[in-house]
């Protein structure tokens, strides 16, 4: 129960618990799917790979999906936690400052322009989508620099909302100009898909995600303090300007990487932090790593359901996260009070 002061012990318990959950989910998820495969056949070396359908399904179709789901889920959950603390707003999401809107705009531009090139194994849509997210981050960051004393969170919030609105409007305009097929492709992208089929896009997304994690590692305690208010944090010894910049850049890179990889499955970024807080309390030193682990597990499970519930066809994973996340969150909320 939250409230006791032994943060070391609570941290160990939290990491062990969520770590075990994530490990179990990662182990079991590739074994489950719309095609029935046998564990023994998957690892049977005597069958040549080209003839071993079970192994192909496991290693080519499912395993990359599980890894992608882990990265996307962790990335969005982490950025959700950081944005909620940075903006001192429990309803903030990875999209509040427009990063996901920029990513969506990038994807739409590629799909509408019928661009088709590949860089180091990464196809055009993830590339332009990431470029879009970096673009919107740059705009928000420039906005924050324009204010003396870094980023007053109200200015950041309002500016980010304005930029998000602008980028969303630009996206709608692109859709308006596009023909039916292009619009359809865009809608498909917006519903999210983790069916990556190979590791190249995952590895590519790990670069910005890794950079983001370097920032995330420095943040937990200072996020606690910043959530009391900028003045209060400063008075307790926090370099608020520097912290807010690190938080903004890390959370935006993480969002950009996740959305480019799996599409804007944004609900995870709002609800996973809250779910985790209901279990571990408000201390960000627990909430941050727990959210990464739980976000990964949650999205892996949602993707599993998405690809099995109406087999052989699939449901978009974004729908499942909302259908499951909403009621689950309500249950956690009412159980605790």
């Amino acid at each position: 129960m939250p409230g006791r002061s032994d943060v070391r012990r609570r941290l160990a318990v939290t990491l062990a618990g969520f770590g075990a959950l994530t490990f179990a989910v990662c182990l079991l998820a590739p074994l489950v799917g719309s095609t029935s495969i046998h564990f023994s056949r998957v690892f049977d070396r005597s069958i040549p790979f080209a003839d071993n359908v079970d192994a192909q399904v496991f290693f080519v179709a499912r395993l990359p999906r599980v890894v992608a789901a882990a990265v996307v889920g962790a990335g969005l959950a982490l950025s959700g936690v950081v944005f909620q603390a940075l903006l001192r707003n429990p309803l903030a999401s990875p999209d509040t400052l427009g990063v996901a809107a920029g990513a969506s705009l990038g994807a739409m531009l590629a799909l509408t322009a019928h661009a088709d090139f590949t860089l180091l194994g990464v196809s055009v849509v993830p590339l332009t989508s990431f470029a879009g997210s970096v673009g919107s981050l740059a705009i928000v960051f420039a906005l924050s620099l324009a204010r003396r004393r870094g980023t007053s969170s109200t200015v950041l919030l309002l500016g980010g909302i304005a930029i998000a609105a602008l980028l969303n409007a630009a996206g709608r305009f692109i859709q308006y100009l596009a023909d039916v097929t292009e619009t359809f492709r865009t809608v498909q992208w917006l519903m999210g898909s983790l069916d990556v089929g190979s590791y190249a896009p995952i590895l590519a997304s790990l670069v910005p995600f890794g950079i983001a994690c370097i920032g995330f590692v420095t943040l937990p305690r200072v996020l606690d303090l910043i959530s009391l208010g900028e003045e209060a944090a400063e008075a307790r010894g926090v370099d608020v300007v520097r912290t807010e910049r690190i938080a903004l850049v890390s959370a935006s890179l993480s969002t950009g990487a996740a959305v480019s990889l799996g599409g804007p499955v944004l609900f995870i970024g709002i609800i996973v932090p809250h779910m985790v807080r209901l279990i571990v309390g408000a201390d960000h030193r627990l909430v941050l790593p727990a959210s990464a682990l739980f976000g990964a597990s949650f999205l892996i499970v949602c993707d599993l359901i998405a690809r099995t519930i109406i087999a052989p066809v699939e449901m978009p994973v974004g729908i499942i996260t909302a259908i499951i996340g909403g009621p689950f969150f309500l249950w956690l909320l009412f159980r605790g009070r």
Partner: protein, 261 residues
């Protein structure tokens, strides 16, 4: 002198001059009150005194050390601030709020040890909030919240405590509670304090010295009895008031009578 401010001048970017040539001194173990109308620059002065803002001209020194030479964490180890209201976004418990005061000593990566917890618990006990340790901060009453925030500032183990209108948002019962607490802390622990307030009666009961600020300048400063006069109140607030020694209260009281401007 513990805290020494000389010739402070400050203006926000593209704004009017907020403070002009303000000097004040805070003797060790005293409680200095900052009195002034809304917009006189009290909050800005508090921020200059704790090093959050840098003055355009002038300097602040703590125990002879200029604040500008100290890092943010160094500053936090020596100066703690209690603000008017604390909005907590997430469901921290009272103890967690108090433990946040240890950041200046621990930094971003060290986890609190048993020493830090004991310091926090002592701070809670000093403010009479031990029973609230496990309670959610957001569910506490106004007075309880302020006491926990003061405990958090105490946990910083600083030399001096700056309080920016600590009782303005509280009802008279809680005001009394906080005032007594601050007086007791000063008496029992020798905590030096600077309190900015609107409440002239609070200033009268609590503060040994007063600094009157009007429109960014020092109007008068000195011992409470010398400075808290009807004439000064008229110049400061444009209000005719009766300032008398109240035998039962044991200190000066101020009763406003009429507006003069």
């Amino acid at each position: 002198m513990l805290l020494d401010a000389r010739g402070l001048s400050f203006a926000y970017r593209r704004g009017a001059q907020v403070l002009d040539d303000v000097s004040l001194s805070v003797p060790r173990g005293s409680i200095v009150g900052l009195i002034g109308p809304n917009g006189s620059g009290k909050t800005t002065l508090i921020r200059l005194l704790n090093g959050t803002l840098s003055p355009a001209r002038g300097s602040v020194a703590l125990d002879g050390v200029p604040l500008a030479t100290l890092s943010r964490r160094d500053l936090a180890r020596r100066i703690a601030v209690v603000s008017q209201e604390t909005h907590v976004t997430f469901d921290f418990t009272a103890l967690e709020i108090v433990l946040m005061g240890r950041y200046a000593h621990l930094g971003a990566f060290a986890l609190e040890g048993p020493d830090d917890v004991s310091i926090a618990r002592k701070a809670l006990s000093a403010t009479g909030t031990t029973a609230l340790e496990g309670r959610q901060f957001a569910t506490l009453s106004g007075g309880e919240k302020q006491r926990v925030v003061i405990a958090s500032a105490l946990a910083q183990a600083s030399d001096i405590l700056l309080l920016d209108e600590p009782t303005t948002a509280l009802d008279v019962g809680f005001q009394f509670e906080i005032a007594s607490l601050l007086a007791r802390l000063n008496r029992d622990r020798g905590t030096t304090m600077v309190v900015s307030t609107h409440d002239l009666n609070l200033a009268a009961t609590l503060c040994t010295e007063l600094v009157l600020i009007k429109a960014g300048r020092v109007l008068a400063q000195g011992a409470t009895g010398d400075v808290l006069t009807a004439a000064n109140i008229r110049r400061l607030y444009g209000v005719d008031a009766d300032v008398t020694f109240h035998p039962r209260a044991g200190h000066l009281t101020v009763v406003p009578l009429a507006r003069t401007e």
